[in-house]
């Protein structure tokens, strides 16, 4: 341990006086610095050390999909728009304003002037065009960003600060997509580099922080962008960020992350599970949580399977799951049982709690009605066949297995035998494509209700083999409706229809939970339950 110098000795006293004076002078000069710690006033300066569990091996915001990496790379780029996490409303950021054609096929953005990238180049309509032209060629890693721009006809430069994006079909989700990290705007030079180069070397953005160093599997270091003056309209502080430096350390062991936070070796940690909560209680730590918007964790049925074609069987399974018990025993404190196919933090979410109430009696009578008779060994049978459901899952979250084992028990109680089949992450997509599955366990984070269309429209991938129905029309109509009230009505209708027909069994909302030292202030979740560190300060 390094010994602290003894400030009482005369030699140090002189130095201390000198230092104090210069600090005071600096404070007077800049006018932004607070007058000291503990008075609750935001202060500039300092380093935030944030421990995350994994490294995706890529530092290009347009390509990454994992929260642990989004936390850091998000800070490097600005987006055309921002989304208010409370209302879901889209607000100005790099775009001062925008116009959307009545049929939701053309989006015109009016850019802010005076914005520069960290390589000195200015933000122009051409830069945005370069970005949107490059995104469809990102390849396998950039599927999120590509999805947002799918069906794009052209991006045109109207004038130096006006850019217009046109789609073949109505695409109301695109406005929200422009607020995500996936469509964060990079400099033209960056946009023109190969996806691999951007992954390993990082990108040039116009964001409040600049990438200083990336050491794979170790750390991402960011420094404050001096002269930054084009923050989102949602942020409290104007101009530069408070913090001088951000250091994201990769610490895979959850227990080590929690202990490091508790012992002050880091200021914040990601992915706090239920098991770590006890270790963090008391002391100088607060837990911060928010449900991820989008499709909740649940069972995605293969609705074409003979067993699951029968709506009564699907509804019986929907009723036989005790969501509250699962949320309370397996997931971090505060996790909510699903009350719709969408999480409550998604814009246009509708509370359908009564339709998702646990009702074992109802489940049993529905199965009786469908011809599945209770047998001697507890498993129902029909025409000599047992009522067996296989659930495919991947071990990408620690909560998956215990949650599914609980569901297995709950379904057994009504006579449904469940087989759990663990797949490698790499097998999931091929399995869903092939249709060789009964049900898969998973969720999708997205702060726009259009995620329902991506998952349940028969006109897209339709992994869940949902039969063509009026739902298709509702989903297409919401994608073509720009009027917020009209769209909200259609989204509500779609949620009701999915839950009523039990095309999917919603179970729990995924909750993102962070652990923060009490000296970290104003670290809030954005609309996608990720973080923006411009307003964050330490003191």
């Amino acid at each position: 341990m390094r010994a602290l110098p003894d400030f009482r000795s005369p030699r140090w006293a002189a130095l201390t006086a000198l230092l104090t004076t210069s600090v005071l002078l600096t404070a007077c000069g800049s006018g932004t610095g607070g007058s000291g710690a503990g008075d609750g006033k935001p202060r500039s300066g300092g380093t935030l050390t944030f421990a995350v569990g994994s490294d995706a091996g890529c530092v290009d915001p347009q390509q990454v999909g994992s929260n642990d990496t989004i936390y850091s790379v998000r800070q490097v780029v600005d987006s055309l728009t921002d989304q208010d996490p409370r209302t879901g409303k889209i607000v100005p950021w790099l775009a001062k304003s925008w116009d959307i054609s009545a049929d939701a096929t053309a989006f015109t953005f009016h850019l802010r002037s005076g914005v520069t990238f960290s390589d000195g180049s200015p933000l122009t309509a051409q830069v945005v065009k370069d970005n949107f032209d490059a995104v469809p060629h990102l390849g396998v890693l950039g599927t999120l960003a590509e999805g947002y721009l799918s069906g794009v006809k052209s991006t045109t430069v109207v004038d130096p600060l006006t850019v217009k994006v046109t789609f073949e079909q109505p695409n109301a989700q695109f406005l929200q997509a422009t607020s995500t990290h996936s469509l964060g705007i990079e400099s033209s030079a960056s946009a023109k580099r190969s996806p691999q180069q951007k992954c390993s070397d990082g990108v040039i953005g116009s964001g409040p922080f600049v990438l200083k160093q990336y050491v794979q599997n170790q750390s991402v270091t960011l420094a404050k962008r001096r002269g930054y003056a084009w923050g989102s309209s949602r942020w409290n502080k104007k101009g530069e960020a408070y913090l001088d430096k951000l250091v994201f350390k990769v610490v895979p062991e959850a227990g080590v992350r929690a202990g490091s936070l508790r012992s002050g070796q880091v200021d914040a940690i990601g992915s706090v599970g239920r098991a770590d909560e006890a270790a963090l209680k008391g002391g100088q730590v607060t837990l911060q949580r928010r449900a991820n918007p989008g499709i909740v964790f649940g069972l995605g049925f293969n609705n074409a399977r003979p067993l699951l074609k029968d709506a009564r069987v699907r509804r019986a399974i929907l009723a036989a799951v005790d969501r509250k018990q699962i949320a309370d025993t397996v997931f971090p404190t505060g996790t909510r049982a699903a009350t719709s196919v969408l999480a409550h933090t998604t814009p246009d979410y509708t509370n359908l709690a009564p339709d998702l109430a646990f009702d074992a009696a109802k489940a049993k009578s529905l199965l009786d009605e469908a011809g599945w008779k209770a047998g001697g060994d507890g498993t129902r049978t029909k025409d000599g066949k047992k009522l067996n459901l296989t659930i495919d899952w991947v071990p990408n979250a620690a909560t998956n297995q215990p949650a599914l084992e609980l569901i297995q028990q709950q379904l057994k109680a009504v006579g449904v035998q469940v087989t759990l089949k663990q797949l490698q992450l790499t097998q999931l997509t091929p399995t869903q494509q092939s249709g060789e599955f009964d049900a898969t366990w998973g969720n999708i984070t997205r702060a726009d209700p259009d995620i329902l269309r991506s998952s349940f429209s028969t006109k897209l991938a339709n992994f869940y083999r949902v039969p063509a129905s009026g739902l298709d029309r509702t989903l297409s109509a919401q994608a073509a409706t720009t009027d917020p009230e009209g769209r909200s009505k259609l989204v509500t209708q779609a949620q009701r229809s999915i839950v009523r027909d039990a095309y999917n069994v919603p179970v729990v909302e995924l909750q993102t939970q962070l652990g923060l030292s009490t000296k970290v202030h104003s670290l809030a979740f954005d609309a996608s339950s990720r973080i923006q560190l411009h307003d964050t300060w330490i003191g």
């Binding site: 341990m1 421990a51 490294d55 995706a56 091996g57 890529c58 990454v64 999909g65 994992s66 990496t69 390849g139 396998v140 890693l141 599927t143 999120l144 999805g147 691999q196 992954c199 390993s200 050491v215 794979q216 599997n217 170790q218 350390k249 990769v250 610490v251 895979p252 062991e253 227990g255 080590v256 202990g259 490091s260 508790r262 012992s263 070796q265 990408n396 490698q424 992450l425 790499t426 097998q427 999931l428 997509t429 091929p430 869903q432 494509q433 998973g442 969720n443 999708i444 984070t445 991506s454 991938a461 992994f463």
Partner: protein
């Protein structure tokens, strides 16, 4: 002697080739493939364009017949080229070369700790005349071999980093950051050294030459350290290859617990991402270290005990 060396060299090359081939076959047999892994990493939407996957598979040569792939890979591997990582696009050779110094640092310090702790334990246990102390000390190595490294690491972090705050809990920063991971890794290795050394020391102490030395009036310490220990170290040297294997395998766990950069982390990440070129590189590299260690031991052995070469040559003549 020349025949002995050549034979050992040929064996070493054979082991390397076998390790490479077996790992290739196993990786080829495993379900899933690296390109889809790459596409699905960190995504939960699972919407991947099959055409892009096909294009990437072609780019990496995964669409060729297995035998062709094997021949190509082996041909390049012989020249030290293990291709590029599927996950990061970086050459495998430089990925391993970057991680190597960190792991060498860790394993070297762990070996030092292990020799001091394990050797000290064996010598003390066999030297002491107190029965209870000997029993106690000799019961430690089996414990050290059987406790999970993971658990030892977490225990040490809890005590010396989170509570006492003497050492950092993670990272590759300097000597301080090296102490806890090296200690963790030293536990199973030291236990193995202690086990082997204690057993052979006890055997050596019963040998006639020890009696002779004693009869000539040598002191207890002198007999123990100069006479018995010297002979007893030969079996310990024999397990050196085993120790190296244990250290490399242990680094996967230790580097993960302590968030250290190194070969272990590279391995763990490569396995998770099904990054086949990197896994192949790690296997080949691990085998190379293992084989080299054993080769060195085999070549040093006759210097310590000339009877070994004689025996080997006699066997060769009979065969």
């Amino acid at each position: 002697m020349r025949g002995y060396v050549l034979k050992r060299l040929a064996q070493a090359v054979g082991v390397l080739w076998a390790a490479y081939t077996v790992s290739f076959l196993v990786l080829d047999y495993l379900p899933g493939d690296p390109v889809t892994a790459m596409a699905g990493a960190g995504m939960d939407s699972g919407q991947v364009d099959p055409r892009q996957i096909a294009a990437l598979r072609h780019e990496y040569g995964f669409d060729k017949p297995v035998l062709t792939q094997y021949a190509e890979y082996l041909g390049r591997a012989v020249r030290g080229d293990f291709g590029n990582s599927v996950a990061t696009g970086r050459p495998v050779a430089s990925t391993l070369a970057d991680a190597l110094p960190q792991t060498l640092q860790l394993t070297a310090s762990a070996l030092l700790f292990a020799v001091v702790l394990g050797g000290g334990l064996a010598v003390t246990a066999t030297y002491t005349t107190r029965r209870w102390l000997r029993q106690l000390l000799l019961s430690l190595p089996p414990l050290g071999v059987s406790v999970p490294t993971f658990w030892v690491g977490l225990l040490l972090v809890e005590a010396f980093s989170f509570r006492l705050r003497w050492f950092p809990a993670f990272g590759n920063d300097g000597l301080k950051g090296l102490v806890l991971p090296a200690l963790t890794l030293a536990v199973p290795t030291g236990a193995l050294i202690a086990q082997v050394l204690a057993k052979s020391l006890l055997t050596a102490l019963d040998q006639p030459y020890v009696e002779t030395a004693r009869a000539k009036g040598a002191g207890r310490w002198r007999v123990h350290l100069r006479h018995a220990l010297r002979n007893a170290s030969l079996p310990a040297l024999t397990v050196a290859g085993l120790l190296v294997g244990q250290l490399i395998a242990g680094s996967v766990v230790v580097e993960t617990v302590f968030s250290r950069d190194g070969l272990g982390r590279v391995t763990a990440a490569a396995v998770t991402a099904q990054d086949i070129p990197v896994v192949q590189g790690v296997v080949a590299f691990g085998a190379l270290i293992f084989v080299t260690t054993n080769l060195v031991v085999d070549l040093v052995y006759p210097l310590l005990d000339p009877r070994i070469v004689v025996a080997s040559e006699r066997r060769a003549r009979i065969a």
